[in-house]
Protein backbone atom coordinates (compact mmCIF):
# COMPACT_ATOMS: atom_id res chain seq x y z
CA UNK A 1 0.00 0.00 0.00
CA UNK A 2 2.81 2.39 0.94
CA UNK A 3 4.58 1.42 -2.25
CA UNK A 4 1.62 2.34 -4.43
CA UNK A 5 1.07 5.73 -2.79
CA UNK A 6 0.91 8.16 -5.73
CA UNK A 7 4.34 9.76 -5.96
CA UNK A 8 2.80 12.90 -7.43
CA UNK A 9 0.95 13.53 -4.16
CA UNK A 10 4.31 14.03 -2.44
CA UNK A 11 5.13 16.88 -4.83
CA UNK A 12 1.65 18.41 -4.67
CA UNK A 13 1.75 18.22 -0.87
CA UNK A 14 5.19 19.84 -0.78
CA UNK A 15 3.99 22.59 -3.11
CA UNK A 16 0.95 23.33 -0.96
CA UNK A 17 2.99 23.23 2.25
CA UNK A 18 5.89 25.33 0.92
CA UNK A 19 4.35 28.74 1.69
CA UNK A 20 3.83 27.66 5.33
CA UNK A 21 7.39 26.43 5.78
CA UNK A 22 10.10 28.83 7.07
CA UNK A 23 11.94 30.44 4.16
CA UNK A 24 15.25 28.82 5.09
CA UNK A 25 13.75 25.34 4.67
CA UNK A 26 11.77 25.98 1.49
CA UNK A 27 14.59 25.24 -0.94
CA UNK A 28 15.47 22.03 0.90
CA UNK A 29 11.81 20.97 0.85
CA UNK A 30 11.62 21.53 -2.90
CA UNK A 31 14.65 19.30 -3.43
CA UNK A 32 13.68 16.65 -0.86
CA UNK A 33 10.13 16.16 -2.17
CA UNK A 34 11.09 14.88 -5.64
CA UNK A 35 13.79 12.70 -4.08
CA UNK A 36 11.14 11.06 -1.88
CA UNK A 37 8.91 10.72 -4.95
CA UNK A 38 11.80 9.09 -6.81
CA UNK A 39 12.27 6.59 -3.98
CA UNK A 40 8.56 5.78 -4.14
CA UNK A 41 8.76 5.21 -7.88
CA UNK A 42 11.73 2.90 -7.47
CA UNK A 43 9.71 0.81 -5.03
CA UNK A 44 6.81 0.17 -7.39
CA UNK A 45 6.81 -2.32 -10.19
CA UNK A 46 5.15 -2.63 -13.51
CA UNK A 47 1.69 -4.03 -12.80
CA UNK A 48 1.10 -2.29 -9.46
CA UNK A 49 -2.33 -0.66 -9.11
CA UNK A 50 -4.06 1.62 -6.62
CA UNK A 51 -7.84 1.98 -6.94
CA UNK A 52 -10.23 4.16 -5.00
CA UNK A 53 -13.98 4.70 -5.23
CA UNK A 54 -15.19 8.21 -5.88
CA UNK A 55 -18.14 9.86 -7.64
CA UNK A 56 -19.62 6.38 -8.09
CA UNK A 57 -16.67 5.27 -10.19
CA UNK A 58 -13.72 3.04 -9.42
CA UNK A 59 -10.79 5.33 -10.14
CA UNK A 60 -7.33 4.01 -10.79
CA UNK A 61 -5.01 6.52 -9.12
CA UNK A 62 -1.94 4.47 -9.90
CA UNK A 63 -1.47 2.21 -12.88
CA UNK A 64 2.21 1.42 -13.12
CA UNK A 65 3.57 -0.06 -16.30
CA UNK A 66 6.79 0.42 -18.23
CA UNK A 67 5.43 3.38 -20.18
CA UNK A 68 4.22 5.33 -17.15
CA UNK A 69 7.31 4.46 -15.11
CA UNK A 70 9.70 5.74 -17.80
CA UNK A 71 7.94 9.11 -17.86
CA UNK A 72 7.62 9.07 -14.06
CA UNK A 73 11.38 8.69 -13.57
CA UNK A 74 12.28 11.56 -15.86
CA UNK A 75 9.58 13.82 -14.37
CA UNK A 76 11.01 13.48 -10.86
CA UNK A 77 14.58 13.93 -12.13
CA UNK A 78 13.46 17.11 -13.89
CA UNK A 79 11.80 18.31 -10.68
CA UNK A 80 14.99 17.80 -8.67
CA UNK A 81 17.02 19.70 -11.28
CA UNK A 82 14.47 22.52 -11.37
CA UNK A 83 14.43 22.77 -7.57
CA UNK A 84 18.23 23.13 -7.47
CA UNK A 85 18.22 25.65 -10.30
CA UNK A 86 15.43 27.69 -8.69
CA UNK A 87 16.96 27.56 -5.18
CA UNK A 88 16.82 31.36 -4.94
CA UNK A 89 13.22 31.60 -6.17
CA UNK A 90 11.90 30.85 -2.71
CA UNK A 91 9.91 34.01 -2.09
CA UNK A 92 7.23 34.17 -4.76
CA UNK A 93 4.57 31.67 -5.66
CA UNK A 94 6.54 30.25 -8.60
CA UNK A 95 8.26 27.42 -6.75
CA UNK A 96 5.15 26.14 -4.90
CA UNK A 97 3.17 26.37 -8.14
CA UNK A 98 5.90 24.52 -10.02
CA UNK A 99 5.86 21.70 -7.45
CA UNK A 100 2.08 21.33 -7.71
CA UNK A 101 2.45 21.46 -11.51
CA UNK A 102 5.13 18.74 -11.54
CA UNK A 103 3.18 16.63 -9.05
CA UNK A 104 -0.05 16.79 -11.02
CA UNK A 105 1.78 15.95 -14.25
CA UNK A 106 3.29 12.96 -12.43
CA UNK A 107 -0.16 11.90 -11.19
CA UNK A 108 -1.54 12.26 -14.73
CA UNK A 109 1.14 9.91 -16.07
CA UNK A 110 0.07 7.24 -13.58
CA UNK A 111 -3.68 7.77 -14.05
CA UNK A 112 -5.34 4.53 -15.12
CA UNK A 113 -8.63 6.06 -16.20
CA UNK A 114 -9.72 9.09 -18.19
CA UNK A 115 -11.45 10.82 -15.26
CA UNK A 116 -8.33 10.74 -13.09
CA UNK A 117 -6.30 11.82 -16.09
CA UNK A 118 -8.68 14.74 -16.67
CA UNK A 119 -8.50 15.93 -13.05
CA UNK A 120 -4.68 16.07 -13.04
CA UNK A 121 -4.63 17.41 -16.61
CA UNK A 122 -6.57 20.43 -15.35
CA UNK A 123 -4.62 20.90 -12.10
CA UNK A 124 -1.37 20.91 -14.07
CA UNK A 125 -2.86 23.46 -16.50
CA UNK A 126 -3.82 25.90 -13.74
CA UNK A 127 -0.62 25.41 -11.73
CA UNK A 128 1.55 25.94 -14.81
CA UNK A 129 -0.33 29.13 -15.69
CA UNK A 130 0.61 30.37 -12.20
CA UNK A 131 4.24 29.62 -13.05
CA UNK A 132 3.90 31.86 -16.14
CA UNK A 133 2.26 34.64 -14.11
CA UNK A 134 5.05 34.53 -11.53
CA UNK A 135 7.11 36.80 -13.81
CA UNK A 136 4.76 39.58 -12.75
CA UNK A 137 4.84 41.59 -15.97
CA UNK A 138 1.90 42.72 -18.07
CA UNK A 139 3.15 40.63 -20.99
CA UNK A 140 3.49 37.55 -18.78
CA UNK A 141 -0.04 38.09 -17.54
CA UNK A 142 -1.41 38.24 -21.08
CA UNK A 143 0.62 35.27 -22.26
CA UNK A 144 -0.34 33.27 -19.15
CA UNK A 145 -4.01 34.04 -19.71
CA UNK A 146 -3.85 32.88 -23.34
CA UNK A 147 -1.87 29.84 -22.19
CA UNK A 148 -4.48 28.91 -19.60
CA UNK A 149 -7.40 29.31 -22.01
CA UNK A 150 -5.71 26.97 -24.50
CA UNK A 151 -4.87 24.41 -21.79
CA UNK A 152 -8.40 24.46 -20.43
CA UNK A 153 -9.81 23.95 -23.93
CA UNK A 154 -7.61 20.87 -24.12
CA UNK A 155 -9.12 19.68 -20.83
CA UNK A 156 -12.66 20.30 -22.05
CA UNK A 157 -12.02 18.28 -25.21
CA UNK A 158 -10.62 15.47 -23.08
CA UNK A 159 -13.66 15.55 -20.80
CA UNK A 160 -16.07 15.56 -23.75
CA UNK A 161 -14.25 12.68 -25.43
CA UNK A 162 -14.18 10.70 -22.18
CA UNK A 163 -17.90 11.31 -21.62
CA UNK A 164 -18.79 10.08 -25.11
CA UNK A 165 -16.57 7.07 -24.56
CA UNK A 166 -18.22 6.28 -21.25
CA UNK A 167 -21.71 6.61 -22.73
CA UNK A 168 -20.87 4.30 -25.62
CA UNK A 169 -18.67 1.69 -23.97
CA UNK A 170 -19.40 2.02 -20.25
CA UNK A 171 -15.69 2.20 -19.51
CA UNK A 172 -13.40 5.04 -18.50
CA UNK A 173 -10.21 2.99 -18.71
CA UNK A 174 -7.33 4.84 -20.34
CA UNK A 175 -5.85 2.31 -22.72
CA UNK A 176 -5.39 2.44 -26.48
CA UNK A 177 -7.97 4.88 -27.83
CA UNK A 178 -7.48 5.17 -31.58
CA UNK A 179 -9.21 7.54 -33.97
CA UNK A 180 -12.09 5.29 -34.99
CA UNK A 181 -13.56 4.73 -31.52
CA UNK A 182 -16.24 6.84 -29.76
CA UNK A 183 -14.76 10.14 -28.60
CA UNK A 184 -11.41 9.24 -30.17
CA UNK A 185 -11.14 12.35 -32.34
CA UNK A 186 -11.92 14.66 -29.39
CA UNK A 187 -9.33 12.97 -27.20
CA UNK A 188 -6.75 13.20 -30.00
CA UNK A 189 -7.46 16.94 -30.29
CA UNK A 190 -7.00 17.30 -26.52
CA UNK A 191 -3.65 15.52 -26.65
CA UNK A 192 -2.73 17.38 -29.82
CA UNK A 193 -3.00 20.73 -28.08
CA UNK A 194 -0.61 19.56 -25.34
CA UNK A 195 1.78 18.14 -27.94
CA UNK A 196 1.63 21.47 -29.81
CA UNK A 197 0.44 20.05 -33.13
CA UNK A 198 0.80 22.49 -36.06
CA UNK A 199 -1.67 25.39 -35.70
CA UNK A 200 -2.32 24.33 -32.11
CA UNK A 201 1.25 25.19 -31.12
CA UNK A 202 1.47 28.90 -30.42
CA UNK A 203 0.67 28.78 -26.71
CA UNK A 204 4.17 27.34 -26.36
CA UNK A 205 6.13 30.07 -28.16
CA UNK A 206 3.85 32.62 -26.54
CA UNK A 207 4.10 31.66 -22.87
CA UNK A 208 7.50 30.02 -22.34
CA UNK A 209 9.65 33.05 -23.22
CA UNK A 210 7.52 35.33 -21.00
CA UNK A 211 8.12 33.36 -17.80
CA UNK A 212 10.86 33.90 -15.22
CA UNK A 213 14.41 32.67 -15.87
CA UNK A 214 13.63 29.67 -13.65
CA UNK A 215 9.93 29.21 -14.46
CA UNK A 216 10.55 28.43 -18.12
CA UNK A 217 12.80 25.57 -17.03
CA UNK A 218 9.89 23.94 -15.20
CA UNK A 219 7.44 24.64 -18.02
CA UNK A 220 9.68 23.03 -20.62
CA UNK A 221 9.73 19.70 -18.81
CA UNK A 222 6.16 18.64 -18.17
CA UNK A 223 3.25 19.93 -20.25
CA UNK A 224 4.32 18.83 -23.72
CA UNK A 225 5.83 15.56 -22.49
CA UNK A 226 2.59 14.74 -20.68
CA UNK A 227 0.95 15.17 -24.09
CA UNK A 228 3.52 12.84 -25.68
CA UNK A 229 2.96 10.24 -22.96
CA UNK A 230 -0.82 10.36 -23.45
CA UNK A 231 -0.44 10.17 -27.22
CA UNK A 232 1.89 7.17 -26.93
CA UNK A 233 -0.64 5.32 -24.78
CA UNK A 234 -3.76 6.30 -26.69
CA UNK A 235 -2.74 6.57 -30.32
CA UNK A 236 0.34 4.44 -31.03
CA UNK A 237 0.37 3.38 -34.67
CA UNK A 238 -2.12 6.02 -35.84
CA UNK A 239 -0.73 6.75 -39.30
CA UNK A 240 -1.86 10.38 -39.57
CA UNK A 241 0.52 11.19 -36.71
CA UNK A 242 3.46 10.43 -38.99
CA UNK A 243 2.55 13.34 -41.24
CA UNK A 244 1.55 15.64 -38.41
CA UNK A 245 4.86 14.92 -36.69
CA UNK A 246 6.86 15.37 -39.88
CA UNK A 247 5.29 18.79 -40.41
CA UNK A 248 6.06 19.66 -36.79
CA UNK A 249 9.76 18.88 -37.19
CA UNK A 250 10.11 21.12 -40.23
CA UNK A 251 8.02 24.28 -40.05
CA UNK A 252 9.12 25.69 -36.66
CA UNK A 253 12.78 25.76 -37.65
CA UNK A 254 12.21 28.50 -40.24
CA UNK A 255 10.81 30.66 -37.47
CA UNK A 256 13.65 29.67 -35.17
CA UNK A 257 16.20 31.02 -37.67
CA UNK A 258 14.69 34.52 -37.73
CA UNK A 259 13.59 34.78 -34.08
CA UNK A 260 15.53 37.19 -31.89
CA UNK A 261 14.47 36.13 -28.37
CA UNK A 262 16.70 33.10 -27.75
CA UNK A 263 14.23 31.50 -25.33
CA UNK A 264 11.59 31.75 -28.07
CA UNK A 265 14.06 30.09 -30.46
CA UNK A 266 14.24 27.25 -27.94
CA UNK A 267 10.44 27.13 -27.76
CA UNK A 268 10.36 26.60 -31.52
CA UNK A 269 12.92 23.83 -31.14
CA UNK A 270 10.72 22.21 -28.47
CA UNK A 271 8.11 22.03 -31.21
CA UNK A 272 10.60 20.53 -33.64
CA UNK A 273 11.75 17.83 -31.20
CA UNK A 274 8.16 16.94 -30.27
CA UNK A 275 7.63 16.31 -33.97
CA UNK A 276 10.17 13.46 -33.92
CA UNK A 277 8.34 11.87 -30.97
CA UNK A 278 4.95 12.23 -32.68
CA UNK A 279 6.37 10.53 -35.79
CA UNK A 280 7.69 7.70 -33.61
CA UNK A 281 4.26 7.25 -32.01
CA UNK A 282 2.59 7.32 -35.42
CA UNK A 283 4.93 4.64 -36.76
CA UNK A 284 4.00 2.55 -33.74
CA UNK A 285 6.61 -0.19 -34.22
CA UNK A 286 8.44 -1.44 -31.15
CA UNK A 287 11.58 0.38 -32.24
CA UNK A 288 9.78 3.64 -33.07
CA UNK A 289 7.74 3.68 -29.88
CA UNK A 290 10.83 3.00 -27.80
CA UNK A 291 12.50 5.78 -29.76
CA UNK A 292 9.67 8.21 -28.96
CA UNK A 293 9.82 7.43 -25.23
CA UNK A 294 13.62 7.49 -25.12
CA UNK A 295 13.71 10.74 -27.04
CA UNK A 296 11.14 12.30 -24.69
CA UNK A 297 13.37 11.25 -21.78
CA UNK A 298 16.50 12.71 -23.38
CA UNK A 299 14.68 15.81 -24.61
CA UNK A 300 13.42 16.75 -21.15
CA UNK A 301 17.01 16.78 -19.91
CA UNK A 302 18.70 18.67 -22.74
CA UNK A 303 15.83 21.13 -23.05
CA UNK A 304 16.04 21.71 -19.30
CA UNK A 305 19.76 22.36 -19.70
CA UNK A 306 19.32 24.76 -22.64
CA UNK A 307 16.55 26.72 -20.91
CA UNK A 308 18.69 26.81 -17.75
CA UNK A 309 21.62 28.30 -19.63
CA UNK A 310 19.41 30.94 -21.24
CA UNK A 311 17.74 31.56 -17.88
CA UNK A 312 21.17 32.18 -16.35
CA UNK A 313 21.98 34.60 -19.19
CA UNK A 314 18.68 36.42 -18.68
CA UNK A 315 19.39 36.67 -14.95
CA UNK A 316 22.92 38.00 -15.34
CA UNK A 317 22.83 39.97 -18.59
CA UNK A 318 19.21 41.10 -18.26
CA UNK A 319 18.24 40.02 -21.77
CA UNK A 320 18.19 37.00 -24.06
CA UNK A 321 17.81 38.92 -27.31
CA UNK A 322 20.31 37.89 -29.94
CA UNK A 323 20.63 41.54 -30.94
CA UNK A 324 21.93 42.54 -27.49
CA UNK A 325 24.14 39.57 -26.63
CA UNK A 326 27.50 38.23 -27.78
CA UNK A 327 30.87 37.53 -26.27
CA UNK A 328 29.40 36.28 -22.98
CA UNK A 329 31.78 33.31 -22.90
CA UNK A 330 34.26 35.72 -21.36
CA UNK A 331 31.98 36.45 -18.40
CA UNK A 332 30.10 33.15 -18.11
CA UNK A 333 32.46 30.41 -19.32
CA UNK A 334 30.81 27.63 -17.31
CA UNK A 335 27.33 28.52 -18.50
CA UNK A 336 28.66 28.67 -22.07
CA UNK A 337 30.19 25.22 -21.69
CA UNK A 338 27.02 23.69 -20.25
CA UNK A 339 24.96 25.35 -22.97
CA UNK A 340 27.17 23.74 -25.60
CA UNK A 341 26.66 20.33 -23.99
CA UNK A 342 22.90 20.90 -24.32
CA UNK A 343 23.40 22.09 -27.89
CA UNK A 344 25.44 19.01 -28.80
CA UNK A 345 22.81 16.80 -27.16
CA UNK A 346 19.83 18.25 -29.02
CA UNK A 347 21.85 18.12 -32.25
CA UNK A 348 22.47 14.39 -31.77
CA UNK A 349 26.28 14.48 -31.80
CA UNK A 350 27.78 11.05 -31.13
CA UNK A 351 28.37 10.59 -27.37
CA UNK A 352 25.46 12.95 -26.58
CA UNK A 353 21.93 11.91 -25.71
CA UNK A 354 19.80 12.50 -28.83
CA UNK A 355 22.27 10.46 -30.90
CA UNK A 356 21.13 7.29 -29.16
CA UNK A 357 17.40 8.18 -29.01
CA UNK A 358 16.29 10.13 -32.09
CA UNK A 359 17.98 7.69 -34.44
CA UNK A 360 15.59 4.90 -33.38
CA UNK A 361 12.73 6.93 -34.85
CA UNK A 362 14.70 7.78 -38.01
CA UNK A 363 15.70 4.17 -38.61
CA UNK A 364 12.15 2.98 -38.08
CA UNK A 365 10.76 5.55 -40.55
CA UNK A 366 13.23 4.40 -43.19
CA UNK A 367 12.56 0.73 -42.45
CA UNK A 368 8.82 1.23 -42.89
CA UNK A 369 9.44 2.83 -46.29
CA UNK A 370 8.49 6.40 -45.38
CA UNK A 371 11.32 7.82 -47.49
CA UNK A 372 9.93 11.31 -48.13
CA UNK A 373 9.14 11.67 -44.46
CA UNK A 374 12.62 10.39 -43.66
CA UNK A 375 14.14 13.08 -45.91
CA UNK A 376 12.13 15.77 -44.13
CA UNK A 377 13.23 14.41 -40.75
CA UNK A 378 16.83 14.50 -41.97
CA UNK A 379 16.33 18.11 -43.08
CA UNK A 380 14.91 18.89 -39.63
CA UNK A 381 17.87 17.15 -37.97
CA UNK A 382 20.27 19.39 -39.86
CA UNK A 383 18.02 22.34 -39.09
CA UNK A 384 17.91 21.70 -35.35
CA UNK A 385 21.69 21.75 -35.21
CA UNK A 386 21.58 24.97 -37.17
CA UNK A 387 19.07 26.89 -35.04
CA UNK A 388 19.47 25.32 -31.59
CA UNK A 389 22.88 23.72 -31.72
CA UNK A 390 24.74 26.63 -33.27
CA UNK A 391 22.53 29.71 -33.12
CA UNK A 392 21.81 29.61 -29.37
CA UNK A 393 25.40 29.33 -28.11
CA UNK A 394 26.79 31.42 -30.97
CA UNK A 395 24.64 34.52 -30.53
CA UNK A 396 24.65 34.37 -26.72
CA UNK A 397 28.25 33.54 -25.99
CA UNK A 398 30.27 34.27 -29.15
CA UNK A 399 29.38 36.35 -32.26
CA UNK A 400 30.46 39.98 -31.94
CA UNK A 401 31.42 41.06 -28.41
CA UNK A 402 28.46 43.03 -27.07
CA UNK A 403 30.61 44.52 -24.33
CA UNK A 404 28.38 43.05 -21.64
CA UNK A 405 30.49 42.02 -18.65
CA UNK A 406 28.51 40.27 -15.95
CA UNK A 407 28.98 37.71 -13.20
CA UNK A 408 28.99 33.98 -13.85
CA UNK A 409 25.72 32.23 -12.96
CA UNK A 410 25.24 31.61 -9.22
CA UNK A 411 26.58 28.29 -7.83
CA UNK A 412 23.20 26.58 -7.44
CA UNK A 413 22.43 27.22 -11.10
CA UNK A 414 25.83 25.91 -12.15
CA UNK A 415 25.27 22.76 -10.07
CA UNK A 416 21.88 22.16 -11.72
CA UNK A 417 23.33 22.76 -15.19
CA UNK A 418 26.30 20.51 -14.40
CA UNK A 419 24.02 17.66 -13.31
CA UNK A 420 21.83 18.03 -16.38
CA UNK A 421 24.91 18.12 -18.62
CA UNK A 422 26.29 15.00 -16.92
CA UNK A 423 22.99 13.19 -17.59
CA UNK A 424 22.99 14.27 -21.26
CA UNK A 425 26.50 12.92 -21.75
CA UNK A 426 25.82 9.89 -19.57
CA UNK A 427 22.88 8.82 -21.71
CA UNK A 428 24.90 9.39 -24.87
CA UNK A 429 27.89 7.37 -23.68
CA UNK A 430 26.02 4.65 -21.73
CA UNK A 431 22.61 4.28 -23.35
CA UNK A 432 21.88 0.83 -21.88
CA UNK A 433 20.30 1.94 -18.57
CA UNK A 434 17.85 4.13 -20.53
CA UNK A 435 17.19 1.35 -23.04
CA UNK A 436 16.46 -1.06 -20.18
CA UNK A 437 13.48 0.99 -18.93
CA UNK A 438 11.81 1.46 -22.34
CA UNK A 439 8.32 0.00 -22.79
CA UNK A 440 9.01 -2.50 -25.58
CA UNK A 441 11.67 -5.20 -25.74
CA UNK A 442 14.03 -4.31 -28.54
CA UNK A 443 17.64 -4.64 -29.59
CA UNK A 444 19.16 -1.47 -30.95
CA UNK A 445 22.82 -0.60 -31.44
CA UNK A 446 23.35 3.15 -31.89
CA UNK A 447 27.12 3.08 -32.29
CA UNK A 448 27.76 1.59 -35.70
CA UNK A 449 30.40 3.01 -38.04
CA UNK A 450 27.66 3.85 -40.55
CA UNK A 451 25.56 5.80 -38.09
CA UNK A 452 28.46 7.73 -36.53
CA UNK A 453 29.89 8.67 -39.92
CA UNK A 454 26.62 9.72 -41.54
CA UNK A 455 25.61 11.80 -38.52
CA UNK A 456 29.01 13.51 -38.32
CA UNK A 457 28.89 14.32 -42.03
CA UNK A 458 25.44 15.82 -41.65
CA UNK A 459 26.42 17.93 -38.65
CA UNK A 460 29.82 19.13 -39.81
CA UNK A 461 28.43 20.24 -43.16
CA UNK A 462 25.51 21.98 -41.42
CA UNK A 463 28.10 23.84 -39.36
CA UNK A 464 30.01 24.65 -42.54
CA UNK A 465 26.85 26.03 -44.11
CA UNK A 466 26.33 28.27 -41.08
CA UNK A 467 29.93 29.50 -41.07
CA UNK A 468 29.92 30.08 -44.81
CA UNK A 469 26.65 32.04 -44.67
CA UNK A 470 28.01 34.07 -41.75
CA UNK A 471 31.30 34.91 -43.41
CA UNK A 472 29.69 35.85 -46.70
CA UNK A 473 27.12 38.03 -44.95
CA UNK A 474 24.19 36.11 -46.42
CA UNK A 475 23.01 35.00 -42.98
CA UNK A 476 20.13 37.26 -41.94
CA UNK A 477 21.13 39.51 -39.01
CA UNK A 478 19.23 39.26 -35.75
CA UNK A 479 16.52 41.93 -35.63
CA UNK A 480 14.20 43.28 -32.99
CA UNK A 481 10.84 42.19 -34.26
CA UNK A 482 7.73 40.16 -33.79
CA UNK A 483 7.28 37.38 -36.33
CA UNK A 484 3.68 36.62 -37.14
CA UNK A 485 2.72 33.03 -36.57
CA UNK A 486 -0.64 31.31 -36.31
CA UNK A 487 -1.38 33.13 -33.05
CA UNK A 488 -1.93 36.18 -35.26
CA UNK A 489 -5.38 34.74 -35.91
CA UNK A 490 -6.45 35.15 -32.31
CA UNK A 491 -4.13 37.88 -31.10
CA UNK A 492 -4.80 40.21 -34.02
CA UNK A 493 -7.42 38.99 -36.48
CA UNK A 494 -9.67 37.70 -33.71
CA UNK A 495 -9.23 40.89 -31.72
CA UNK A 496 -9.89 42.96 -34.85
CA UNK A 497 -12.95 40.87 -35.72
CA UNK A 498 -14.11 41.14 -32.14
CA UNK A 499 -13.55 44.89 -32.16
CA UNK A 500 -15.22 45.10 -35.59
CA UNK A 501 -18.18 43.12 -34.33
CA UNK A 502 -18.37 45.35 -31.27
CA UNK A 503 -18.29 48.43 -33.51
CA UNK A 504 -20.98 46.98 -35.76
CA UNK A 505 -23.13 46.17 -32.76
CA UNK A 506 -22.54 49.63 -31.36
CA UNK A 507 -23.50 51.18 -34.72
CA UNK A 508 -26.63 49.04 -34.92
CA UNK A 509 -27.39 49.95 -31.37
CA UNK A 510 -27.01 53.65 -32.14
CA UNK A 511 -29.15 53.34 -35.27
CA UNK A 512 -31.84 51.49 -33.34
CA UNK A 513 -31.70 54.05 -30.58
CA UNK A 514 -31.93 56.87 -33.12
CA UNK A 515 -34.87 55.18 -34.84
CA UNK A 516 -36.58 54.65 -31.51
CA UNK A 517 -35.89 58.21 -30.49
CA UNK A 518 -37.24 59.43 -33.85
CA UNK A 519 -40.37 57.34 -33.45
CA UNK A 520 -40.80 58.58 -29.90
CA UNK A 521 -40.31 62.13 -31.07
CA UNK A 522 -42.85 61.69 -33.86
CA UNK A 523 -45.31 60.15 -31.40
CA UNK A 524 -44.66 63.04 -29.05
CA UNK A 525 -45.21 65.57 -31.81
CA UNK A 526 -48.47 63.88 -32.79
CA UNK A 527 -49.63 63.86 -29.21
CA UNK A 528 -48.61 67.48 -28.82
CA UNK A 529 -50.46 68.42 -31.99
CA UNK A 530 -53.68 66.92 -30.76
CA UNK A 531 -53.35 67.21 -27.00
CA UNK A 532 -50.83 70.03 -26.61
CA UNK A 533 -51.68 73.48 -25.39
CA UNK A 534 -52.58 74.49 -28.92
CA UNK A 535 -53.78 70.99 -29.88
CA UNK A 536 -57.15 70.41 -31.45
CA UNK A 537 -58.37 68.21 -28.59
CA UNK A 538 -57.02 70.48 -25.87
CA UNK A 539 -58.69 73.72 -26.96
CA UNK A 540 -61.31 75.16 -24.66
CA UNK A 541 -64.51 75.06 -26.49
CA UNK A 542 -66.97 77.96 -26.54
CA UNK A 543 -70.37 77.57 -24.76
CA UNK A 544 -72.15 78.39 -27.97
CA UNK A 545 -70.28 75.73 -29.80
CA UNK A 546 -71.14 73.24 -27.08
CA UNK A 547 -74.86 74.16 -27.26
CA UNK A 548 -74.79 73.83 -31.04
CA UNK A 549 -73.16 70.34 -30.87
CA UNK A 550 -75.73 69.24 -28.23
CA UNK A 551 -78.54 70.54 -30.44
CA UNK A 552 -77.14 68.66 -33.45
CA UNK A 553 -76.79 65.42 -31.42
CA UNK A 554 -80.36 65.74 -30.06
CA UNK A 555 -81.71 66.40 -33.56
CA UNK A 556 -79.85 63.37 -34.86
CA UNK A 557 -81.27 61.32 -31.99
CA UNK A 558 -84.84 62.43 -32.77
CA UNK A 559 -84.42 61.66 -36.45
CA UNK A 560 -82.99 58.18 -35.74
CA UNK A 561 -85.80 57.51 -33.16
CA UNK A 562 -88.66 58.37 -35.46
CA UNK A 563 -87.17 57.01 -38.62
Amino acid sequence: MIAEFPAGFVLIGAGLAAPLVPRALRGALAIAAPLVAFALLLSIDSGDRLEVEAFGFVLQLVRADRLSLAFGYVFVIATVLYAIFAWEARDGFEQPAALVYAGSALCAVFAGDLLTLFVFWEISAVASALVVWARGTKRAFGAGMRYMVVQLVSGMLLAAGAAIRYAETGSLAFEFVGLGTPGGALILAAFGIKCAFPLLHNWLQDAYPESTPTGTVALSAFTTKLGIYALARGFAGTEVLIWIGTAMTAFPIFYAVIENDLRRVLAYSVNNQLGFMVVGIGLGTDLALNGAVAHAFADILFKLLLFMSMGAVLLRAGTVNGTDLGGLYKSMPWTAGFCMVGAASISAFPLFSAFVTKSMIMVSAAEQGYMWEWLVLLFASAGVFHHAGIKIPFFAFFAHDSGIRCKEAPPHMLIAMGLAAALCIGIGVFPDPLYSILPRPVEYLPYTASHVLSQLQLLVFSALAFSWLMRTGIYPPEMRSVNLDFDWTYRHLGVRLGAGAAEAIAALNAAAAAALAGAAQAAGALARRHHGAEGLLARTWTTGGMALWVAILLAAYLIVYYA
Partner: protein, 83 residues
Protein backbone atom coordinates in the same frame (compact mmCIF):
# COMPACT_ATOMS: atom_id res chain seq x y z
CA UNK B 1 37.04 47.26 -17.74
CA UNK B 2 40.34 48.44 -19.10
CA UNK B 3 42.58 45.55 -18.12
CA UNK B 4 40.60 43.23 -20.38
CA UNK B 5 42.23 39.90 -21.14
CA UNK B 6 42.98 39.02 -24.71
CA UNK B 7 41.08 35.95 -25.81
CA UNK B 8 42.20 33.57 -28.51
CA UNK B 9 38.96 34.02 -30.41
CA UNK B 10 39.34 37.83 -30.41
CA UNK B 11 41.84 37.58 -33.26
CA UNK B 12 40.15 37.27 -36.68
CA UNK B 13 43.02 35.14 -38.03
CA UNK B 14 42.34 32.53 -35.34
CA UNK B 15 38.67 32.41 -36.33
CA UNK B 16 39.78 31.89 -39.94
CA UNK B 17 42.03 29.04 -38.84
CA UNK B 18 39.06 27.47 -37.09
CA UNK B 19 36.93 27.90 -40.21
CA UNK B 20 39.54 26.27 -42.43
CA UNK B 21 39.95 23.47 -39.91
CA UNK B 22 36.22 22.78 -40.10
CA UNK B 23 36.43 22.45 -43.90
CA UNK B 24 39.35 20.07 -43.49
CA UNK B 25 37.34 18.00 -41.02
CA UNK B 26 34.43 17.92 -43.46
CA UNK B 27 36.72 16.76 -46.26
CA UNK B 28 38.11 13.96 -44.09
CA UNK B 29 34.61 12.81 -43.15
CA UNK B 30 33.48 12.69 -46.76
CA UNK B 31 36.64 10.85 -47.81
CA UNK B 32 35.95 8.29 -45.07
CA UNK B 33 32.98 7.26 -47.20
CA UNK B 34 35.55 5.54 -49.42
CA UNK B 35 36.84 3.47 -46.52
CA UNK B 36 33.61 2.77 -44.62
CA UNK B 37 30.71 1.18 -46.44
CA UNK B 38 27.66 2.84 -44.88
CA UNK B 39 24.55 0.67 -44.60
CA UNK B 40 21.41 2.65 -45.26
CA UNK B 41 17.80 1.69 -45.94
CA UNK B 42 17.79 3.33 -49.36
CA UNK B 43 20.38 3.24 -52.12
CA UNK B 44 20.59 7.01 -52.60
CA UNK B 45 21.63 7.51 -48.97
CA UNK B 46 24.62 5.24 -49.59
CA UNK B 47 25.94 7.53 -52.34
CA UNK B 48 29.36 9.09 -51.76
CA UNK B 49 29.10 12.13 -49.46
CA UNK B 50 25.28 12.04 -49.36
CA UNK B 51 24.91 13.23 -45.77
CA UNK B 52 27.48 16.00 -46.12
CA UNK B 53 25.87 17.38 -49.24
CA UNK B 54 22.37 17.03 -47.83
CA UNK B 55 23.33 18.80 -44.59
CA UNK B 56 24.96 21.69 -46.42
CA UNK B 57 22.16 22.17 -48.94
CA UNK B 58 19.47 21.75 -46.27
CA UNK B 59 20.95 24.47 -44.08
CA UNK B 60 21.52 26.95 -46.89
CA UNK B 61 17.97 26.34 -48.13
CA UNK B 62 16.67 26.73 -44.58
CA UNK B 63 18.35 30.10 -44.10
CA UNK B 64 17.40 31.48 -47.53
CA UNK B 65 13.78 30.41 -47.06
CA UNK B 66 13.71 31.92 -43.58
CA UNK B 67 15.03 35.19 -45.03
CA UNK B 68 12.13 35.17 -47.49
CA UNK B 69 9.73 34.32 -44.67
CA UNK B 70 10.83 37.48 -42.87
CA UNK B 71 9.39 39.60 -45.66
CA UNK B 72 5.98 38.14 -44.96
CA UNK B 73 5.86 37.83 -41.20
CA UNK B 74 8.20 40.42 -39.67
CA UNK B 75 6.50 43.22 -37.75
CA UNK B 76 7.70 45.88 -35.28
CA UNK B 77 8.31 44.72 -31.74
CA UNK B 78 5.22 46.48 -30.36
CA UNK B 79 2.94 44.94 -32.99
CA UNK B 80 0.68 43.32 -30.40
CA UNK B 81 0.81 46.53 -28.40
CA UNK B 82 2.02 44.99 -25.16
CA UNK B 83 5.71 45.80 -24.95
Amino acid sequence: MTDERNYWLDKPENVSTLYRGLWALGAVLVLLDLAVHRHEESAFAELFGFFGLYGFVACVALVLTAKLLRRGVMRPEDYYGDR
